[in-house]
Structures are given as C-alpha cells and as structure tokens.
C-alpha cells in the first residue's frame, strides 16, 4: 500500500508535536544537570550551554560531600523502598492468590474491603498514625515508614495481581495438585513465576511514590539518621538556597538514581500496563 501524501504530512506533524513535547518534558531536567557541572559564573552567564573545559567545575558536589550526608540518606531510602516493596509484593501476591483461587465465604467482601484502599489516601490517617508510632516508640525509626508504605501499597498490589492470577490456567494448578504439590508450592513454584510481568508492573508503580514521598519522612522520621534522600535533599536545599552550585548538584544527585532505575524498568512498566492489550 503506498502512502498518500496527506499521511506523510500527518506523520511529520506527529513527530513535530511529539518532539516538541519531549523537549518541554526534558528541558528543565537537562538545564539542572548541565549546570550542576559548571562554575558559579558560568551558571549565570550561559545557563543553557553545556559545561566546557573552562566552565567545568565540581564545586557543588564537593560542598555536598563535606556538608550533607547524602550517602546515608540514600541508604535509608533504598532500605525503606526495598523492604516495603518486598513486603507489598509478597503479601499482596499471597492475598491475591487466596482471593482469585479459592471460593470461600466473604471472598468478595474482603476483595472490596482491600480495594477501598486504592482510592483513599493513607495520608488522611496521619494524625492517628503519628499517635500510634509515638505510642509504639517507632518515631524516627525506618520501620514506621516501612509499615506505612506497605499498608499504602498493598491494595493496588492485591487488586492488580488478583486480575492477573485469574487468567492463569486452572488446569495448570490442577496438574500440580495431581503431581502432589501443596497449595503453598503451587503458589510459589507455579503461580508466582507466571505473574512475574504483573509483579514488575506493581513494583514500578509502588516504588516511585515511596521513593519520592516527602510527607511521611517529614512527619514520622525527620531525624538526621533516618532522613530519606527526598527529605534530605529538601532540607539541604532549603539550607543552601544561595549556594547555587550546591543546590544544582544536590538536585542532580537526587535525579540521577531515579532516572537510571526508570530507564532500566521503563520497558517493563509499559509492557505491564499493556499486558492485557498486546498478547
């Protein structure tokens, strides 16, 4: 089929529109990262130029390494995100399996009860959560964040994984039962490997808001030794407002790890979302 000229024009138009929006999406980030590697004078004189041999400077990063404890913030964030994610995926998959596989009294009710949490933000319970953490002595303890994020992530995880597990062949699980596998083994060795794409999707979706959250670290764990990178960057930048080199470097440090993670997983993200679509 030969393409009529109008569709060629439309194709070019699409590229112009998408390239234009891509520029809008990436430009602010690019400006920050470029200027983080320049001297203070160059930041102001030519903000849109990439660093040259003359303007290149790492002074901002030096300030950070001497003044802020970004490594420890990073470890805190990684711990909280990693542990929460593991719990959300494991517990969520277990509950999803129970809800999708077995017929029992209250099944639909439990599914609804958990699904409510998808729409209602956990932040609205902050007042009581803080009181609870104070009573439990968990303030300024990463465990408090892990528990809250796990509760926050479970509803969506259960919901998505239930949908996916319903699609798994019943014959396969029955074949496992005939081969003598226990229900636990069926879950861990047959079902879990088959929902890996869905698990990856849930992981990406739950990971981003946890890593990026400012509210709960600010309220539950603001101490220096439990600061997450999001809170750490916020506080640091607040203190060094006038030190442009340090601020730009801090922002770059906060952007780059997320960006790398995202580029690693972005395929998974879209594949998971479109899993129902492109079989």
């Amino acid at each position: 089929m030969s393409r009529p000229p109008s569709s060629l024009i439309r194709g070019i138009g699409a590229h112009i529109a998408l390239a234009g929006y891509t520029a809008i999406a990436l430009f602010p980030v690019a400006v920050i990262v470029i200027n983080a590697f320049k001297s203070r004078a160059a930041i102001f004189s030519e903000p849109l130029m990439p660093p040259t041999a003359k303007s290149f400077s790492l002074i901002g990063f030096e300030t950070i390494s001497s003044r802020g404890d970004f490594l420890s913030y990073f470890v805190n964030s990684a711990t909280v995100t990693g542990v929460s994610l593991a719990l959300i995926l494991l517990f969520g998959a277990m509950a999803a399996f129970a809800l999708s596989e077995y017929r029992f009294r209250g099944n639909a009710l439990i599914a609804l009860y958990v699904a409510l949490g998808i729409m209602i933000p956990i932040r609205l319970g902050t007042v009581a959560i803080l009181q609870m953490m104070v009573n439990g002595g968990l303030v300024n303890n990463l465990l408090a964040l892990i528990l809250v994020y796990t509760a926050q992530g479970l509803p969506l995880s259960v919901f998505i994984l239930t949908e996916f597990m319903r699609q798994i062949s019943a014959d396969l699980k029955d074949a496992g039962r005939i081969d003598g596998l226990s229900e636990y083994k069926i879950f861990f060795t047959l079902v879990l490997p088959l929902v890996r794409p869905a698990i990856a999707t849930v992981a990406v979706f739950t990971m981003i808001p946890i890593w990026n959250d400012l509210w709960f670290p600010l309220i539950l764990a603001p101490a220096e030794q439990t600061k997450t990178i999001t809170l750490g960057a916020q506080v640091f930048i607040g203190q060094f407002v006038t030190d442009w080199n340090a601020v730009l470097a801090a922002l770059t440090l906060a952007i780059v790890p997320v960006l790398i993670l995202y580029l690693l997983f972005s395929r998974q993200l879209v594949r998971g979302l479109t899993a129902g679509a492109v079989k």
């Binding site: 029955d174 074949a175 005939i178 081969d179 003598g180 596998l181």
Partner: protein, 337 residues
Amino acid sequence: MTAPEFALKIEGLNKTFGDFHALDNINLEIKPGEFVVFVGPSGCGKSTLLRIIAGLEHASNGDITIAGRRANDVEPSKRDIAMVFQSYALYPHLDVRGNLSLGLKQAKKPRPFIEAQVLKAAKMLALEELLHRRPSELSGGQRQRVAIGRALVREPQLFLLDEPLSNLDAALRANTRLEIARLHRQTGKTMIYVTHDQIEAMTLADKIVVMNKGRIEQIGSPMELYRRPLNTFVASFIGSPQMNLVPGSKIGLKDVSLVGIRPEHLTISADDGPIQGAVSHVEHLGADANVYVDVADIGLIVARVAGDVEARPGETIRFDMRPDLVHYFDEQARRIN
C-alpha cells in the same frame, strides 16, 4: 494380592453448586483395563464427574472407590491416577524432562527410577529429542504428547483424559486418536476419557457413558448405543447425521410417541416407499450423500445414501426402510421395542 474387581466404582454420587444440581445420582462401574468415554453436550457434568474422580472437586455425597479403596477423602496425588488436561497444563518454567519427572520427584521416588520412567515414556511418545525444550518451544502436537507422557510416567491405576484433542487441528486429532488407542493397547491401563465429540467416543471406547443434564442417560458399548439407544437423547446424540425422529401419529402409529429412523437406514425406492417428499438440499460427501427431504406434515428428514445419487432440489423422492432397524419411543422418550 488379588486384583480388585473394579478399577473404579461410583455409588450414589451427587454434586450440587448452591441450587444447581451438577451431578444427580451417578452410579458407575469400570473394570480394569477398560477404555471408558464420558460423552455429552457441554454443561452435562462430564468434566465435573472426571474432576471428582481426580479429587480436584469434592462430591456432595456418594462414594468413590478406586481399585478397591475408598477414595473420597484421598488427595489427588495419592489416588493413583494421572490426568491429561484439555489445555495440556504443562509447567511453563520446566523443560520436557522436568515436566515429566516433577510428579515422581514430589513422590520422592529414587533418581534412577525416575530417569528410567522418563526415558521409557519419552521413547513411547517419540519425545527423546525434545527432553531439553521448554513447553513454549513445542508445537501443539508435541505439547499434547508431553501432557500424555506426564501421565504415563506415574504408571497410575487410572488415566483421566479431559478433552485432550480439542485444541488440535483436524489432521493431528485423527493421528493422536490412533496414538491414544495404541497407548491403551500397549499399557493395558484403565482409561477414562471425556469428550463432547461422539466420533471420538465411538472410535475409542470399550464402553461409552452418555450424560445429559447431570445424569447418566445410558452406559454401553459403542454398537449397543448405536443399535439400542435407550431414549431419544442417546438416539440423536450418537450417529451422524442425527437420527430422524418422527411423531408416531403422523405415520399412523397410535401407541408410539416417536419413531426414530437413522439416515443411513433409509434407502431410495423406485416408486412405493412409505416416505415421500421434495428434495430440499443435497450434501455430497464423496462416498455418501446426505439428502434433505421436505416431507409434508412431518418436516425435514435426512437420508444418507450412496454418493452417486442424482437427486436435485425440487424433485420428488421416495424412501424405504427396514422395519427391524426402526426405533420406537414412548411419551417419556424411552425406548419401547
């Protein structure tokens, strides 16, 4: 140890889902070595019955005895059965060898034994070359053979096959049917086979169990069912094209509710046959031809005649039939003669 009289015995079995009576008072005896086919339209309960025999579902009441041992409360893996699923249900993360051996490993059989069993089954099914492949790298027919092999290695008392051919194309289906018949001869094991396809049932079975709406309509050998269907359901389910059922009153038989004549038992007669009508359509199948005839008062009747028939739509045609091949049914659709 004396061999038990029955490989499988089911007594007074019922299964209800809420208000729905899926299986109604099922009684069934299967002798060792028999090839039994459960056949019936979809939703008739044949698959549910098979899953209850496998232990994947539980009967609401009634008894299941497998090889002389009451099996109601025995787990599927301890029932000495193996099952081949419609969708094959191969473990996607294991290669062919892994699929074949998982059940035996789970039963903690010694390694050399497992190895020997796997090789034996692979040889029987021509799977030796494929042992290292994953299910995703196999064709439909190969997957089917692996699924059968997974059942074979367990050397069960009872093979359960749930519509195993329905995902194959027509040519492969005929081949695999022969393959299954050969396996049955070679192993001499008891097999229960579920299908909705009466041709599979007729060609494979020693004994056919015809089911409808949760009940067993009739149990018998293929030819018994063909020659002496106990009711109109069985009569029209077995045989293709379907048996013609004509109200007795329309042909002057007062004490017969329905008269059944198989299409292949109608013969074209020169001038004096009792059934006469206008040809409405002719299907040429090669060796045979199906002639659809519009008979006044009765409606459409089909006759299966020799392939060289020269009937044209619109022509008047007359049929004859042998009285000893005609079936009579009463008001409850039960056989009379």
